[in-house]
């Protein structure tokens, strides 16, 4: 899964002291102002306004102007003229040095991908599309189990923004990829936007088949050719296909979306799909902090998961769970997870019918917020399941190339691994970053901690953080032209450090000692603590502080160096310090008996101060 860095087509020709960036989301347009303060780039202000892609406005720049106008009010400076954002900064102080934007408005980038073999070229095409920031509506392949006419009907029914077609290694057989092209031709697919336009199809398959693909598709579609994304079976080259997806996103999708022609003129840098920009931000974070990263953005309609693993952080994967979200798609969480899985996180009795109606009412009125503690607890229970399901989905796709021959030497002959191994190794995970309303705006930061721990089950030592105001998209696109400014703002203003979690892995019994820790603070103070199986608690370590932590796991417990092996780490502080999570990993399980389960949950919430004391007291009393 090699990922080529987004090529910046824009070269800076001036010193950058002020940056304005917008992210036009499907409901809200967010603007941030970054300025150089002394030697550092810092976030100065943010503004937001409803997105205006839809009727009655049908002009994305109206929402962008409103969001920027909030910045004008907050700073007392002028950034807008009739033509757009004033660049560069003028002698009178008006304007900024550069304006940038990302967008997911109007449904974002919606693609269909096709390949010959489901777990090979089709899977590579899917990774290329997801990495570029697309929602993949369907994946068609010769062996996907559907009959030709069913595939044709499906292609006809969907109206994607573009299709990515792959198949075959260079110089290999052309019959199968031609067959897929013929299905596409027979379906005569139409693009989602721009009635009367031809649908763009990117061909990234066997180069020897190009002539045939041209014969089959050039008349009915807007056909583009790029390098084969699987030139040989053992290699995946996603860069050229992703680059062409970004080009077409600008040329076709953005150009058709209301007002984007104007917005595109405001900025010298191509507008990036929001998830593509977030992906860049995650990759930058991994390199910057020299650790593997998992990031999640849980929205109202979709949940995106990003992961960056590998010795050189070359294993980047992004998945989007298009129907897992906290408002528009909340009923789908109920459908996929089931009521029982949601209820297991709720520490009180609630009628199932009442819960179902509440969830449906959130779906039809997505902008409402919980007003009571019970409602908040329910919403956070649902979010755990949405996050868990999205992560399961991610793990199933973030895998190595499948169905290939692996070169082995004599030494590895007895240590053979299967192809298609997961790239996700929770024990090697360095940092888990959460984003999206339910995580970024939880009333207590510790609620984000516990939601992420429960959903992702990180193992060993993991730093936890949330994106404070979801500015990762703007920082992602900024990194293509000014990596330093992007990195500084990311570290100082974007991330809110929650703390460092230590979770020993291994089976245990209630009350068994899982680890002893010795924390040496910067001022020399030493605290020793013993953690027992089935418990969670936090030791203080404030944001910006670090401490040396000696961890002595119990004989059957592993924190990353083998069962019973001790380690010394430098823990980074956060709002919730050092979290000793001994509730169990592989397996983590909640008691089946309702009363015992509720008692357990209330105990954890009490120990971590997840909810106010009066709520905890009420929950204890009720049970």
């Amino acid at each position: 899964m090699s990922e080529t860095k987004h090529e910046a087509k824009f070269q800076l020709d001036r010193e950058i002291n002020s940056i304005l960036a917008t992210d036009c989301g499907s409901t809200t347009t967010k603007a941030i102002l970054i300025e150089k303060v002394g030697d550092e780039y810092r976030l100065i202000h943010r503004g937001e306004a409803p997105t205006t892609v839809e009727a009655p406005f049908e002009d994305v720049t109206a929402g962008a102007r409103n969001a920027i106008r909030e910045l004008e009010e907050l700073t007392g400076k002028k950034f807008l003229s009739d033509e757009g954002v004033i660049t560069p900064r003028q002698p009178d102080g008006s304007g900024v040095d550069i304006f940038l934007s990302t967008s997911s408005a109007g449904g974002g980038l919606q693609m269909m991908v096709a390949g010959v073999i489901k777990i090979m070229t089709a899977e590579s095409a899917q990774r290329a599309a997801l990495g570029a920031g697309a929602i993949v509506m369907d994946t068609i392949s010769i062996d996907d189990g559907r009959l030709p006419h069913q595939k044709i009907q499906r292609i006809r029914h969907l109206r994607p923004d573009m299709i990515l077609l792959s198949g075959g290694i260079d110089g290999g057989t052309i019959t199968h990829v031609a067959q897929i092209a013929e299905l596409i031709s027979a379906a005569e697919p139409k693009p989602r936007l721009g009635i009367g336009f031809k649908l763009p199809v990117i061909y990234a398959g066997n180069t020897a088949a190009r002539k045939y693909i041209k014969d089959i598709l050039s008349e009915k579609t807007d056909l583009r050719e790029v390098d084969n994304l699987r030139p040989v079976l053992e290699k995946e080259v996603l860069g050229p296909a992703r680059e062409e997806i970004h080009n077409l996103f600008m040329e076709h999708v953005m150009a058709q979306a209301p007002g984007y022609n104007k917005l595109m003129k405001w900025t010298p840098v191509p507008i990036m799909p929001t998830p593509g920009a977030v992906g860049l931000g995650m990759q930058n974070a991994a390199r910057e902090h020299n650790m593997s990263v998992i990031g999640v953005d849980i929205g109202g309609a979709t949940t995106d998961v990003f992961s960056v693993f590998g010795d050189d952080f070359e294993l980047f994967n992004r998945t989007v769970s298009a129907n897992l979200g906290m408002s528009y798609s909340i009923c789908n969480v109920l459908l996929e997870a089931g009521v029982a899985n949601i209820m297991r996180w709720v520490p009180f009795d609630i009628d199932e019918g009442d819960l179902r109606n509440r969830i449906r009412n959130k779906m039809v009125r997505p902008t409402t917020v919980p007003q009571t503690q019970d409602d908040l607890i329910i919403e956070q229970a649902i979010s755990r399941e949405a996050l868990r399901l999205a992560f399961e989905h991610h793990k199933s796709l973030a895998v190595g190339l499948r169905g290939i021959q692996q070169a082995r030497d004599a030494g590895s002959a007895f240590d053979q691994t299967l192809t298609g191994q997961s790239h996700i190794d929770l024990m090697k995970l360095g940092m888990l970053i959460g984003s999206g309303g339910v995580l970024s705006h939880a009333p207590r930061r510790v609620q984000s901690v516990i939601m992420m721990l429960d959903a992702f089950q990180p193992e060993g030592v993991t730093q936890l953080a949330v994106d404070s105001i979801f500015m990762m998209p703007q920082l992602g696109v900024l990194s293509t032209v000014h990596p330093k400014a992007s990195a500084q703002v990311f570290d100082r203003d974007c991330l809110i450090r929650l703390g460092t979690a230590i979770a020993p892995v291994g089976p245990g019994r209630e009350g068994q000692e899982t680890m002893r820790v010795k924390v040496t603070y910067a001022d020399g103070k030493v605290v020793e603590e013993t953690s027992t199986f089935g418990t969670i608690k936090a030791l203080p370590l404030a944001v910006g502080e670090t401490a040396e932590v000696e961890i002595h796991p119990g004989r059957s417990f592993d924190i990353g160096h083998g069962a019973g092996h001790r380690a010394t780490i430098t823990a980074k502080g956060g709002t919730d310090g050092i979290i000793l999570d001994s509730r169990g990993r592989r397996p983590f399980s909640l008691p089946d008996d309702k009363a015992t389960r509720i008692k357990k949950l209330v105990g954890w919430f009490d120990s971590m101060n997840v909810y106010p004391p009066e709520t905890i007291a009420r929950l204890k009393k009720a049970n």
């Binding site: 499907s26 027979a186 919980p370």
Partner: protein, 374 residues
């Protein structure tokens, strides 16, 4: 944000409504600006390419893909009938004969010497767009469709299932909190749009389907009743294409919820009028709510100044509370403190104080109310 509250659903006795009627592909518009139209009148038409079928002739005849062109009896572009021989192959001096017959009426679209596949296509499928509402063509979008303007009563629901239908409104609810049950639905309601109060039951919907009732409107529906009515669960709030005999529109939410007085009173006044309704709901980008349109309705009451709601909420604005712990209650805004305030969840949000019908004054996040618009 300047306006943090949810804009309300429209419930108005008289307004000017514009409906855009657009073809899925470019085609022909059959009416011109200024024409008067009725709901069932076709205003635009086009042909969608017919369904394709692919046959692997090379496989069926046991020959190489490159030889397929030579054995085709029907060539690219030729018209075909179901059962026609489209390919014929003989070998061994005629001792071995094989043929491929057409499974459809249509024409041969493509013969592939690369894969040996032959694509056949059925005749084009005509698609017609109807006016949906009685009104006047206010503008024509060349080759795409029209905008129809009508004046009348307009009610938006919160959620619906089922597509566009027309019928006479029959208000069966005796009060705002009336439960519309199976016993209320009679054979004479065939073709009508029936109105309940706080709830339409699953049994009532079953009867509606049995008697051919076109639409059912009520304050609420129980989640599990909706699932049994549809035969499946809805995960994402995009509806309108369900294959259901009766279009359902709920005005308040899920569960038993008293219909807002304004909605109920208007629907009661509309008893006997012909309405065009659509259950289509889309709560993502491009919000679409289910609707009830009654063209030509003459208001019985003095019109409310629409500008009264243009500036958002002010003390005295009627609102509906749309989340627990006061979900479904109607109230009146008393105070709108500008600063953020901490609520029970410990979140800091913009709030308002509202007076409930009982006289109690309560604090509610502004995001949890909607204006009852006129």
């Amino acid at each position: 944000m300047a306006h943090a509250y949810t804009p309300g659903l429209k419930v108005t006795e008289q307004t000017v409504i514009h409906k855009t009627r657009r073809l899925p592909l470019l085609g022909e518009v059959l009416v011109k600006e200024g024409d008067l139209v009725t709901p069932e009148m076709v205003v635009a038409t086009t042909n969608i390419p017919g369904n394709p079928q692919t046959i692997n002739v090379a496989n069926q005849l046991g020959i190489e893909a490159e030889d397929v062109e030579g054995v085709m009896v029907k060539k690219q572009g030729d018209q075909i009938k179901k059962g026609d021989r489209i390919a014929y192959y003989k070998a061994f001096f005629g001792l071995m004969k094989k043929e491929v017959l057409s499974p459809i009426d249509g024409y041969v679209e493509m013969v592939s010497p690369v894969t040996g596949q032959v694509a056949l296509r059925e005749p084009p499928i005509p698609v017609q767009i109807e006016a949906y509402v009685k009104g006047r063509v206010s503008s024509v979008i060349p080759k795409e469709g029209v905008v129809i303007e009508t004046k009348g009563a307009f009610i938006q629901g919160i959620f619906g299932v089922g597509g566009e239908v027309q019928g006479v409104i029959k208000c069966l609810a005796k009060s705002q909190d009336y439960v519309l049950d199976a016993a209320d639905i009679k054979p004479e309601h065939k073709g009508c749009i029936v109105v309940g109060g706080s709830l339409v039951t699953g049994a009532a919907l079953k009867k509606c389907a049995e008697y051919g009732v076109k639409g059912a409107v009520a304050g609420g529906i129980v989640d599990t009743d909706l699932i049994s009515y549809l035969g499946y669960d809805i995960g994402v709030a995009i509806t309108g294409h369900e294959d259901v005999p009766t279009t359902v529109i709920i005005t308040e939410g899920f569960g038993k919820i008293t219909m807002a007085a304004k909605t109920y009173n208007l629907l009661r006044d509309l008893d006997g009028w012909v309405a065009s309704i659509n259950g289509a709901t889309q709560i993502r980008a491009g919000v679409m709510r289910p609707e009830i349109i009654v063209p030509d309705y003459v208001p019985k009451h003095k019109a409310v100044d629409a500008a009264a709601y243009a500036e958002g909420m002010v003390p005295g604005t009627p609102i509906r509370i749309i989340r627990e712990p006061y979900f479904g209650l109607v109230a009146e805004v008393v105070e709108l403190p500008p600063e953020l305030q901490m609520i029970d969840t410990e979140s800091h949000v913009r709030i308002l104080k509202a007076k409930l019908a009982s006289g109690e004054i309560v604090t509610i996040p502004r995001a949890n109310v909607e204006i009852i618009e006129g």
